[in-house]
Symmetry: C2
Subunit: 100 residues, 2 copies
């Protein structure tokens, strides 16, 4: 929720901020390992943190476009979205390409 007139954070900013927290990287790695989707409760149980703390991490990931979620009954299923991961990887890859 950018304040009115606030500088618009570029797409990469939210992305790298999201990747910066160990818990969030852990979520992404586990999601990937588990085939791409998990319900919120199973994600929360990865951590010693209180559940609402994980909920907020999930929100940061989702705002960055790294995961999406859908309802399934009373559970919520979070799914990896690889597109932003690819974006970050490509940004980094640039440093290893011949300067054209």
């Amino acid at each position: 929720m950018p304040k009115p007139g606030a500088p618009r954070p570029d797409a990469y900013e939210a992305l790298f901020i999201a990747l910066a927290h160990p818990a969030r990287r852990h979520i992404l790695m586990t999601l990937n390992f588990e085939g791409g989707d998990m319900i919120a409760g199973d994600i929360a149980s990865l951590f010693a943190h209180a559940w609402p703390t994980t909920t907020r991490h999930l929100k940061v990931l989702e705002d960055a476009g790294l995961v999406r979620h859908e309802r399934q009954g009373r559970e919520r299923v979070y799914r990896l979205d690889h597109r932003q991961l690819a974006l970050a990887r490509d940004w980094l890859d640039w440093f290893f390409k011949p300067t054209s």
Copy 2:
């Protein structure tokens, strides 16, 4: 996932935090574009920020291992260090490899 034998689990934290700020990504891109090294003053002049603000960004980058510096007369030359960039890229690349 982290490579086995990768540096302390959270070399990644400092790394992604460093990459998260637009000014710091700007510094890295400019360094790369300019062939890998620049003096502090030229880096500072990229920004509307006060110089000490940039000095601190450089410190964050250096603490993350993304740049190093050496003295040269009364100037300081900052140089890109590609190794941590490669580390971050490889971490991301994991998500695009068959889960082995």
